[in-house]
C-alpha cells in the first residue's frame, strides 16, 4: 500500500497499541495529532488513558515515561520538536540511558522517544536542529533514523518492542513523503542497514532526508555514467558495520552525508567506522557532507545555504573520484 511517512508511523502506533495494552502515547497536543499528524485519531481508538495530552512539562513527560517503563508500561513519548529534548536532558542522559547499566541490569526500560527534527521552512534556531549526535554519544541509548515510510513503520514497531530505550528521529521534511509500505506487519530490525540504490563507483552513506538527496544526486550522476550506491544505516546505534564494509569492498570510495553540523556529528562517527573497518579497501579519503558549524538560521537564503542538498552530495562524489 502507499502511505506517507507520518501515516506509516501512525499505523505502527496503532498496530503496537492493539498488540500490547501496556503501550501508551504521551506528549503535548497529541490528542489532536499535533504538531505533525502522527498521533491523529489514536484517541478515538484507544481513549484518554492511552493517549495522554501532557502539560508543557518536558522533564515530567520524559521522566514519568521512564518511571512507567521500569515498572511495567511501554511509553511512546512525542518530543514535539527534538530541539525541546534539552528540557528533559537529565531524564534522557542520566536516568534513562544509564539505568540498566548502573543498576547491574535489573531494570528493563522499554521506552520510545519520537524525535521530530530537522531543517524545514524557516523554523529558526529553536526548531530546526539535527541533534541525533548527542544521543549517539550517550551509551545506553539506541538511535533509529528512518528515511522511508516502510522503514519508519518497521523501525518504530521494533523500537516499541525493544526492552531498551530507543530514540526514533523523524525528519520533519519527510512526513508527507509517500512510499510503498507492506500490507503485512513487517518489522525492521535495529542495526540493519539498507542499500537504497546499488552502484559500483562510490558509496554514499546517508541518513533520513539526506538519503533522498543522495538518491537524487545518484540519478543525476548516473546520466554521466557515475554509479552511486546509496546506503542507509537506518539505525546509528546499533550500527550495521558489515553492510557498510561490504559496500566499500564494491566501490572503494565513500561519502558520508547527513544534515547535522560537521563537528562532532553522527557522520563523523560513521566515517571513522568506515576508516577502521575498511582502510585497506579505500582508494580515496572519505568525504563528508554536513551543515556548517552554526545554528540553523531563519531567513530562507541563509537556511538553504546551511542545508545540505543533492548538489553537495554530487560535489563530494566528484571529489572522491578525483
Amino acid at each position: 500500500m502507499k502511505l506517507d511517512f507520518g501515516d506509516a508511523l501512525n499505523l505502527a502506533l496503532r498496530e503496537e497499541m492493539r498488540r500490547d495494552p501496556r503501550v501508551y502515547c504521551i506528549g503535548e497536543d497529541i490528542v489532536l495529532g499535533l504538531p505533525f499528524g502522527v498521533t491523529k485519531g489514536l484517541i478515538d481508538e484507544f481513549g484518554p488513558d492511552r493517549v495522554l495530552n501532557a502539560p508543557i512539562s518536558e522533564a515530567a513527560i520524559v521522566g514519568s515515561a521512564f518511571g512507567a517503563a521500569v515498572t511495567g508500561l511501554v511509553p511512546v513519548v512525542d518530543m514535539h520538536f527534538a530541539d525541546f529534548v534539552t528540557c528533559a536532558m537529565d531524564e534522557v542522559a542520566n536516568q534513562i540511558a544509564k539505568s540498566r547499566y548502573m543498576f547491574g541490569g535489573q531494570l528493563d526500560c522499554p521506552l520510545t522517544l519520537r524525535m521530530p527534527y530537522g531543517i524545514g521552512k524557516s523554523g529558526g534556531g529553536h526548531h530546526s536542529n539535527s541533534v541525533e549526535a548527542w544521543f549517539v554519544n550517550l551509551p545506553g541509548l539506541k538511535v533509529a533514523i528512518p528515511s522511508t515510510p516502510a522503514d519508519a513503520r518497521g523501525l518504530l514497531k521494533t523500537a516499541i518492542r525493544d526492552p531498551d530505550p530507543v530514540l526514533v528521529f523523524e525528519h520533519r521534511a519527510l512526513y508527507r513523503v509517500v512510499g510503498d509500505v507492506p500490507e503485512a506487519e513487517v518489522l525492521v530490525p535495529l542495526g540493519a542497514a539498507d542499500v537504497k540504490r546499488p552502484g559500483r563507483d562510490v558509496t554514499v552513506i546517508a541518513t533520513a532526508r539526506m538519503v533522498h538527496e543522495s538518491l537524487e544526486a545518484a540519478r543525476r550522476l548516473a546520466e554521466e555514467g557515475v554509479e552511486v550506491e546509496v546506503v542507509d544505516p537506518r539505525s546509528l546505534v546499533p550500527l550495521d558495520r558489515e553492510t557498510l564494509a561490504a559496500s566499500v569492498r564494491r566501490t572503494h570510495r565513500v561519502v558520508v552525508a547527513e544534515e547535522g553540523v560537521m563537528r562532532g556529528s553522527a557522520g563523523a562517527w560513521l566515517a571513522w567506522v568506515v576508516m577502521e573497518d575498511s582502510f585497506d579497501e579505500l582508494d580515496a579519503p572519505i568525504a563528508r557532507v554536513a551543515a556548517p558549524n552554526v545554528p540553523i538560521p531563519f531567513s530562507p537564503p541563509l537556511e538553504s545555504f546551511v542545508m545540505p542538498a543533492a548538489d553537495d552530495v554530487i560535489a563530494a562524489v566528484r571529489h572522491v573520484l578525483k
Binding site: E28, I56, S57, D83, K121, F298, S299
Partner: protein, 326 residues
C-alpha cells in the same frame, strides 16, 4: 489602585493600536507568503504588552516569548527593524538569523523572544542579579504563557528571584490555551498567581484586557522591585482572537470564546473610557490611527525594499572572536 494620567492613557491607546495593526498586517503578509516560518501573533492580547511596557523605563529589560512581536512593539522597538526581521531581510534587527520567534532588540532592553517556552524565567534572575550588583535601578520583566508556567524553569526562576530578592517581574499571559490544550486541563490548582504565596512574594491576578489594570499591577511590582524588595508575579487573563499560529484550524475551541474576546476588546474599551472622559474624540482617534498605519506601512515598505542576506552570511555572528579556520 493608582491611575495613569490622561496623556499616558492616550499613549497606551496608540500603543495598543500599534500592536494590533502591526500584528494584523503581519498575519496578512504571512498569508500572502511575504513572511516565512511559523507566525504566532498576539491579536486580542495587546493590553498585556502595553500595560507592562508603559510601566517600564526604556532601559528596563524584557524577556519575551514565541508570541513576542507585541512586547517589542510596546517596548518601543523599531518597526522597521522588526518587520525586516520577520521578512528575513539582511537589515532585520537580527540580520535574518532569528526571525519571528527569535528576535532581540537590545537597544530597547528587549533581550529576546524565545522559541523554547519558559526559558526566560530562569534567565530573569540572572538579569536581576546583574541589575542588583551594578546598582542600576533597572528591572526585568519576563513574559510567559499559561502553558509555559508548567515547566520547571518557572518554579526555579521564581524561587531564585525571591530567595535573592531580585528586581524581577514575572508576567504570565493567561490566554486560556497552550496550543490545543486548555489551561483548565493542564494546570493543577488553576491559578498561576496563587503560586506566588508558596515563594513568599506578591501574586496578583488581573484582567489582562484592561490596560489600566495591567499597568497598575505592574507599576506596583516595578516600584517594589526598584525599592529592592524583590520579585512579583502577575497573572493577566486575556483571550487570543486568532489561532495559536497562523493557519491553526482551532478545532479545539468554539467561536464563542473569540466572540467574548472581541466583546472585551481592550482597545475599544480604553477608547470608550477616554471618550467618556473627554480625552479622545473621533477626530483625534482617527489621527492616531492614521499615524500608526503610516508607521506600519513605512516598516512594510522598508522590509519589501530591503535586500535578503547572502547565503554565506549564515557563517557570521557565531563568535565575537574565532581565529581558526577549522
Amino acid at each position: 489602585m493608582s491611575a495613569p494620567g490622561p496623556e499616558l492613557m492616550v499613549e497606551m491607546y496608540a500603543a495598543m493600536l500599534r500592536v494590533r495593526l502591526f500584528e494584523e498586517r503581519a498575519r496578512e503578509l504571512f498569508q500572502r507568503g511575504r513572511i516565512p516560518g511559523f507566525l504566532h501573533t498576539s491579536v486580542g492580547q495587546e493590553a498585556v504588552a502595553v500595560g507592562v511596557a508603559a510601566a517600564l523605563r526604556t532601559d528596563d529589560y524584557v524577556l519575551s516569548t514565541h508570541r513576542g512581536h507585541g512586547h517589542l512593539v510596546a517596548k518601543g522597538g523599531s518597526l522597521r527593524g522588526l518587520m525586516a526581521e520577520l521578512y528575513g531581510k539582511a537589515n532585520g534587527i537580527c540580520h535574518g538569523k532569528g526571525g519571528t520567534m527569535h528576535i532581540a532588540d537590545v537597544s530597547v532592553g528587549y533581550l529576546g523572544a524565545n522559541g523554547v517556552l519558559a526559558s526566560g524565567c530562569v534567565v530573569a534572575p540572572g538579569v536581576g542579579l546583574s541589575i542588583k550588583q551594578r546598582r542600576s535601578g533597572q528591572v526585568v520583566v519576563t513574559f510567559f504563557g499559561d502553558g509555559a508556567a508548567n515547566r520547571g524553569p518557572f518554579h526555579e526562576g521564581v524561587n531564585l528571584s525571591a530567595l535573592w530578592t531580585l528586581p524581577v517581574v514575572f508576567v504570565c499571559e493567561n490566554n486560556r490555551w497552550a496550543s490545543s490544550t486548555a489551561h483548565t486541563r493542564s494546570t493543577a490548582g488553576g491559578s498561576i498567581a496563587a503560586r506566588a504565596a508558596g515563594y513568599g512574594i506578591p501574586g496578583e491576578s488581573v484582567d489582562g484586557n484592561d490596560v489600566v489594570a495591567v499597568w497598575d499591577a505592574v507599576m506596583r511590582a516595578v516600584e517594589r522591585a526598584r525599592r529592592g524588595d524583590g520579585p512579583s508575579l502577575i497573572e493577566a487573563h486575556t483571550i487570543r482572537w486568532v489561532g495559536h499560529f497562523e493557519g491553526d484550524p482551532q478545532a479545539y475551541r468554539g467561536k464563542d470564546e473569540v466572540d467574548e474576546g472581541r466583546r472585551r476588546d481592550p482597545i475599544a474599551r480604553l477608547e470608550r473610557v477616554l471618550t467618556e472622559h473627554g480625552r479622545l474624540d473621533a477626530a483625534h482617534a482617527a489621527r492616531i490611527r492614521e499615524s500608526v498605519v503610516a508607521e506600519i506601512e513605512d516598516a512594510v515598505a522598508h522590509a519589501e525594499a530591503s535586500p535578503l542576506p547572502r547565503g554565506e552570511d549564515a557563517l557570521n555572528d557565531l563568535f565575537a572572536y574565532y581565529p581558526w579556520a577549522d
